[in-house]
Symmetry: C2
Subunit: 258 residues, 2 copies
């Protein structure tokens, strides 16, 4: 089993609110179908979630009643993105099923503390393709919190021990800095020897779900389980197909002795 994280920055247009990147979504669906592997797909909310989360300060947890409107709007908007993704998967002959993040997870201080796992386990057993999304969830200390797709991936990695985890983003892998801002170098391999160095480059990007620092800490906990993590660019056709077949164009993060 392989867990695929399709980043919000790849599947939605960050510069246009509530706009899916249909080309990328359709390629993901085709490439998963062609690979014929058992996968779980976790996607980010991208521009279907972040603008509302920001407007209503939902990242801080409950502040006042005014946020309830934002709560409803965010969940409904993310459902629309889900529907778009599910349809693309079905159009390509896959049988996806959405496992509700809001309905199945409870966090405390932003970290998952409860997961109603039966629907997921039964969906896998039945041969359906489980699809998760980053979403708002109830939180035992903050009333609610934003649960990132990245945290879901690291939680599911512990639970299901996938053979690999593929993080799909809108850049070619992990760099020695921010490739959108400075001249940097792609790092092809990360192991115990250089993983601490990599963390130095993880700077907050202001993303509602925690930015690069949050992402790296989830990646680190998967790395710690001895599972290979591949970071690839989902906006380039065939990258996912190739990665699913073990030919990674991007960054491979893996303990050497595994």
């Amino acid at each position: 089993m392989i867990i695929i994280k399709a980043g919000g920055s790849a599947i939605t247009k960050k510069s246009e609110d509530f706009t899916p990147n249909m080309e990328v979504i359709s390629n993901i669906a085709k490439e998963i179908k062609n690979a014929g592997r058992v996968v779980i797909l976790v996607h980010g909310a991208g521009s279907f979630g972040h603008p509302i989360a920001k407007k209503y300060s939902l990242g801080k947890g409950y502040v006042d009643e005014f946020q309830l409107k934002g709560f409803s709007e965010t969940r409904s908007s993310i459902s629309e993105l889900d529907t778009i993704i599910l349809k693309a998967l079905m159009q390509n002959g896959l049988t996806p099923v959405k496992i509700g993040t809001f309905s199945n997870f409870i966090t405390s201080n932003g970290r998952i503390v409860e997961f109603h796992k039966e629907p997921l386990l039964r969906a896998i057993e039945l041969g359906l393709l489980p699809v998760f999304t980053g979403d708002l969830v109830f939180d035992k200390s903050r009333v609610f919190s934003i649960l990132s797709g990245d945290q879901i991936v690291s939680y599911l990695s512990k639970l299901l021990k996938p053979s690999r985890v593929i993080f799909g983003t809108d850049v070619d892998g992990i760099y020695t800095g921010d490739p959108k801002k400075e001249k940097v170098k792609l790092i092809k391999e990360v192991s115990e020897e250089n993983i601490d160095e990599i963390f130095k480059f993880a700077k907050s990007t202001g993303d509602a779900s925690g930015g690069m620092e949050g992402k790296f800490s989830e990646i680190f906990s998967i790395f710690d389980l001895g599972i290979e993590i591949d970071v690839i660019n989902l906006t380039e056709k065939d990258n996912l197909s190739n990665a699913l077949q073990g030919k990674v164009k991007g960054t491979v993060i893996k303990k050497k002795n595994i």
Copy 2:
């Protein structure tokens, strides 16, 4: 607290597949908003669910792999209806939140045996308007099963002890027969004295989620709890408003000594 069941026959057009009845949905939203009461809304899937359920024989539970396509399609189609309803509620100033039926309920032989209730209880506490739908769920004996909105209503009635339950349909209440087929009389009041007689008229209508017989058995179990059930016509404007204020135009089902 009042639980409202909006029947699939009222909120969708049964004669046109995958077509919402926008006028009815919009009226429901307005009338809930104006009433200012704490409510839970449970809706049926109507023509967004039944045609696919029928095509793939989903009502029987798992038969073969061919049904997986129907499973994905049904759940995705029902999500679309949900989004339409959530948007109508939001447009009228309400703050709804979908509580996932598929994600939260597990049945056995078609009856609810598990409910992950925390998201619902926290949604109520926070002042959100919980919305449920009839949907496919996993089933311990049949692999999956269709969970009707009616059964959800009777389950939630036991759990939450609402002051009243309103069943909204596309007819004026409970009749002495099928008002669409024969000349019948509306029954205005049902109590211990005549409830058995009413059951005689509950004939199967071939509906994917159990038809009138199923509906009556859920109503009976709510009646048994001593909770008043009002059956009204949701396709007529102001009926819901009036019922929410206690002025029921339809059938009132209630134990006399309560």
